[in-house]
């Protein structure tokens, strides 16, 4: 019998959060995935989760989950855990879910592994991969039986959608404990982030000094748009004032882990590599074949970005049009 894996699906503006769908997709690969969704939009969302691999969904449509901080969710999941014994509760690493994981762990004495980038079952034994110290990893497991909790790193897994698949939905009808409604959310303030949404982008095209002059950054933006991604930059061209700081990828800028990172005219100073070398695939275009960027690239093009970029953009557009 496959192991049952529970995923608590977080809601953002009444829609499932991308990070939750990532872990749900992973759960479906590991065994029988079941989702829990809590909040006023739970009913609508529950019916869509089958497409992301859930075979069963527990949903509780109650606005208290939206209005109070984490405690109601901890109560409900704890109650569910008393009735069912899944092998694992798999959660995405977000502010709320970290909080919930810690509380569930203590309240139910479950065991918690954080910062996972991969996990698999060896029979009934769960093996969790946790990066430790740069390129080192450790494999962790739970020493005792019962349901363990694993917090997975964002973007560790990709979202897989199977259109038309449905899940069995069980609407919960449990009274919420007034005790848990302690921390009321008074106000939500959206932080206005300027510039490109680099952290969320699956494709990033970045430009460096090799572009020659500020006007040529346009070529980077065009390729980014063609690929449906965001544009980034090195510290050097941010310092030179070509683009605002919000574009900066690197040690003192944003750390990004997109599926595809295209480095255009970037030599690969350590300050920049520190922010992007976790990308899944790295493509580098640079005139200098000794540029350090090639040491981290999966695919390198030695040549002038100014001639290559327009052709690449045109080709991407052409193929997308087909």
């Amino acid at each position: 019998m496959p192991n049952t894996i529970w995923v608590l699906v977080e809601l953002e503006d009444g829609k499932p959060a991308r990070s939750s769908l990532e872990v749900l997709s992973k759960a479906a690969q590991l065994g029988r995935a079941e989702a829990i969704v809590l909040g006023s939009a739970a009913a609508e969302v529950a019916s869509t989760l089958g497409e992301y691999g859930a075979e069963k969904v527990y949903a509780h449509a109650d606005a208290a989950y939206d209005d109070y901080l984490t405690l109601p969710a901890v109560d409900t999941v704890s109650q569910l855990l008393q009735q069912h014994q899944p092998a694992l509760l798999l959660l995405a690493t977000t502010y709320d879910l970290r909080d919930i994981a810690a509380r569930l762990d203590v309240r139910n004495n479950m065991g918690l592994i954080t910062d996972a980038t991969d996990l698999q079952f060896d029979g009934d034994t769960l093996l969790v991969t946790v990066p430790w110290g740069g390129e080192n990893v450790v494999t962790a497991t739970f020493p005792k039986s019962g349901t363990g909790i694993v917090l997975a790193r964002p973007k560790a897994f990709s979202v897989e959608r199977h259109e038309g698949k449905t899940a069995e939905v069980e609407m919960l009808n449990i009274p919420l404990n007034a005790e848990s409604q302690k921390i009321k959310i008074l106000e939500r303030i959206e932080v206005q982030s300027e510039g490109p949404a680099l952290e969320d982008a699956t494709v990033i095209v970045s430009g460096g000094r090799g572009l020659g002059k500020p006007e040529n950054f346009r070529l980077v933006e065009e390729l980014a748009t063609a690929l449906g991604g965001a544009a980034g930059a090195t510290r050097a061209i941010v310092d030179a004032g070509w683009v605002p700081y919000s574009y900066q990828v690197g040690q003192t800028g944003k750390t990004v882990k997109p599926t595809l990172y295209v480095a255009c005219g970037i030599s690969g100073a350590i300050q920049h590599l520190a922010g992007m070398k976790g990308s899944k695939y790295i493509v580098a275009i640079n005139r200098d074949e000794h540029a350090p960027i090639f040491s981290v690239a999966d695919f390198g093009v030695i040549g002038d970005v100014l001639t290559i970029l327009p052709q690449l953009t045109a080709e991407v557009k052409k193929r997308k049009a087909q």
């Binding site: 740069g134 390129e135 030179a240 040690q251 800028g253 350590i270 520190a274």
Partner: protein, 719 residues
């Protein structure tokens, strides 16, 4: 004991009134000054009694010789005369006051030579006053102003000094006239004849009037001092005497990390007494502002305002600090009176850190030490800033977000990046460099540092150092994965905990290979190579060399705080020694490109290494060095120190570009550097000002290695 020719008080009633006034002034002064001393007594303890002979010697040079202020010649000379004038006028005053009792000072009283010296100084002070007033009112250097109070204090002081010398001159003139020249003084003999038409009665009354005016002015001055910038007049001698005699490059150690209850400084009284005395000693001359790289590039940091801010914060909290059971509380004067701006801040309960002193100011500091180097009264700006950063980092977890990965990576990977420390020696592959583990008897340990190990640009420097060591047949090794970040950036950002963690780790490794030079008998562990003491002679002292001034400084000056004492050399000094010993030969005039040299703060100002790098460069380049205007101890920071290399520079001009422009203005083709952070900052700076075609940034070792490798000395280097 010559009595005065004319009694200044005109009888016992006047003398009695004088005694009362005098005692009253002393009481007021005693309360005000005593309160300041009491505040220091409530601060943290710190021992500053080491090197007592040096302290006494330097006290004479700096206080009596006015060495510090004289570095800035015009106001310096003016200050020299004001200072000595003030001292001499005090003796004259004492003499005048004794006149109230028909007495005078032994030796000096009635001594014509003394009276001439006195009057010459009165004239010199008058000249100095004109210089000061001109500076304050007309030149108005920006550094003289302060956010914390208006310009009035300076003018009040100048006015009071003017009043002191005017009343003294007039009293001498009228005394001369009233005594028909019997009471001879230099100034009196000049201006006395003007009043001879007035008659003895009038001139005697006027003489007595100006005697009182003079004495009262000085007594008022005395009571005004404790709340004025002229407090420095009393505090500076002590501040200079108690200045830091420990290594300049060592930040104070934070002890008992596991058990202490506070980390860093949030409130004024958490500073040590010496840090607070700094505030009393500050003359508000603003020399620190003029040299600060942050101030000069429009950052919100003004070193002077840090010192004054701490003083202001201390006064705002003085009533609380002194408590209810003190003399001052009982007299109802525990609170030091505040300026208008300070009152406002106190009313809003503004904290010191994040209020009176903004966080942005604290984060703007590159810890370059230019402020401390120029300060004529030995104020310690940088330790204050780091103490307050410690509070922000360790208590508030409040620091620029981009520093988070730095802390995490140093802690997890022992280097600032997300790179496994196992790869630390990868750069040296194929160069024939042994690890210490393979060559434990190596005489020299080359401490590569994180930049040399992982940063592509600085790996070229590391490679150059290796080539030089090999050419000189030095028996050396590197630690490779056993080396960890020294913790320097963490300590200077305020993460003392992380620094101590890294330092302990490295000390253990270095001691394991027998590098510790101090045999610590107290615990019998430190200082010995494993088994060395049991088997006979300990290993001869071995040297650690490094191309990174930050590693150099923290290992040399700060690791001793945790028991690690090593012989450490910066690579420029080591190379110079190899040259001097004839271990390497360089073709003279090999590199004739026009070059300039940038003094890195952490070997220059912090460790006084200025000439060795220059000697190496001038061997290679017979044209000499085209010095930038700001060189040696006046060098202008690259912007990368104090952890700033790991933060974004969001406001003002770029510090690195400012310095690169200065290098460009010498017409140099090469900017020779001796620090991986300077190299990185300048490479970025050169790109930023788009001068890649004009200026190359090179480490001294790179130039030397190229000279060693090039077979023909005649070869002119290609750019």
């Amino acid at each position: 004991m010559t009595p005065p020719v004319i009694s200044p008080t005109g009888g016992w009633v006047g003398s009695a009134i004088f005694v009362l006034v005098f005692i009253g002034a002393l009481i007021i002064f005693g309360i005000r000054a005593g309160r300041l001393v009491a505040l220091l007594a409530k601060a943290r303890p710190e021992d500053r009694t080491d090197h007592i002979d040096d302290r006494i010697g330097e006290f004479f040079l700096t206080v009596l010789g006015q060495q510090g202020v004289l570095r800035d010649p015009i106001p310096g000379l003016a200050h020299f005369f004001t200072f000595w004038g003030f001292v001499i006028i005090q003796f004259g005053l004492l003499n005048l006051m004794l006149g109230a009792f028909n007495a005078s000072l032994p030796v000096l009283g009635g001594n014509r030579a003394f009276s001439i010296v006195l009057d010459i100084f009165v004239i010199l002070v008058a000249v100095a006053l004109i210089v000061f007033a001109f500076r304050r009112a007309v030149v108005r250097p920006r550094q003289l102003s302060s956010f914390l109070h208006g310009p009035w204090d300076g003018f009040i002081i100048l006015g009071l000094i003017l009043l002191v010398i005017v009343t003294l001159s007039l009293l001498e003139g009228f005394e001369y006239a009233a005594s028909n020249g019997a009471a001879w003084t230099l100034i009196g003999s000049w201006i006395g004849p003007w009043f001879s038409g007035l008659g003895t009665r009038d001139t005697t009354i006027l003489y007595r009037f100006f005697w009182w005016a003079h004495v009262l002015t000085v007594l008022y001055f005395l009571t005004y001092l404790p709340r004025s910038k002229h407090l420095h007049l009393m505090a500076t001698p002590f501040n200079v005497f108690f200045r830091n005699y420990k290594a300049k490059g060592a930040l104070p150690l934070m002890e008992d990390l596991e058990e202490r209850e506070d980390y860093g400084v949030a409130k004024a009284e958490q500073f040590t007494w010496k840090q607070l005395l700094d505030g009393y000693a500050c003359t508000e001359c603003g020399r620190c502002n003029t040299v600060c790289p942050a101030t000069n590039t429009d950052k919100p940091l003004f070193p002077k305002e840090i010192v004054l801010g701490v003083k202001e914060a201390l006064f705002v909290r003085s009533a609380e600090i002194l408590g209810e059971n003190t003399l001052w509380a009982k007299l109802g004067v525990a609170g030091v009176p505040l300026d208008e701006t300070a009152k406002e801040k106190a009313a809003h309960h503004e904290p010191m850190v994040g209020g009176i002193i903004s966080n942005d100011a604290l984060w703007a500091c590159t810890t370059c030490r230019a402020c401390m180097e120029i300060c004529p009264v030995s104020i310690e700006h940088v330790p204050k800033i780091v103490d307050m950063r410690r509070h922000l980092v360790m208590e508030e977890s409040e620091f620029p977000t981009e520093v988070t990965p730095l802390f995490n990576n140093i802690e997890r990977n022992a280097n600032p990046w997300e790179i496994s420390n196992d790869k630390r020696a990868d750069w040296a592959e194929g160069l024939g460099v042994p690890l210490m583990a393979e060559n434990p008897a190596a005489e020299v340990l080359y401490w590569v540092g994180c930049m040399g190990s992982f940063d592509r640009r600085n790996q070229r420097v590391a490679t150059a150092v290796v080539k030089i060591l090999q050419a000189a047949h030095v028996n050396f090794a590197i630690l490779g994965p056993e080396e960890s970040c020294t913790g320097d950036p963490a300590r200077r950002i305020g993460n003392e905990y992380l620094w101590q963690m890294m330092a302990q780790q490295n000390i253990e490794t270095l001691n394991g290979y027998g590098f510790n030079t101090a045999v610590d008998s107290s615990n019998g562990q430190n200082g010995h190579a494993p088994g060395a003491s049991a088997e006979g002679p300990t290993l001869k002292p071995r040297t650690i060399i490094t191309a990174c001034p930050h590693c150099f400084n923290t290992i040399k000056n700060e690791y001793p705080q945790l028991g690690g004492n090593y012989e450490v050399m910066h690579h420029t000094v080591f190379i110079e020694q190899l040259l001097a010993d004839g271990k390497i030969k360089l073709p003279e005039g090999f590199d004739q490109r026009k070059l300039t040299y940038h003094d890195p703060c952490y070997i220059g100002r912090y460790n006084d290494i200025y000439e060795e790098p220059r000697r190496v460069l001038t061997v290679l380049n017979s044209n000499g060095i085209s010095e930038m205007a700001r060189n040696r101890n006046k060098s202008f920071c690259c912007g990368g120190g104090g952890g700033r290399a790991w933060m974004e520079e969001r406001t003002g001009k770029r510090i690195n570009q400012t310095r690169v422009n200065e290098a460009l203005s010498t017409g140099a083709e090469v900017l020779a550097a001796a620090c991986p952070f300077c190299i990185t900052m300048f490479d970025d700076g050169v790109k930023g000002v788009e001068a890649e075609e004009k200026l190359q940034v090179e480490d001294i070792s790179e130039i030397v290695a190229r000279a060693i490798e090039t077979p023909s000395p005649a070869t002119r280097l290609e750019a």
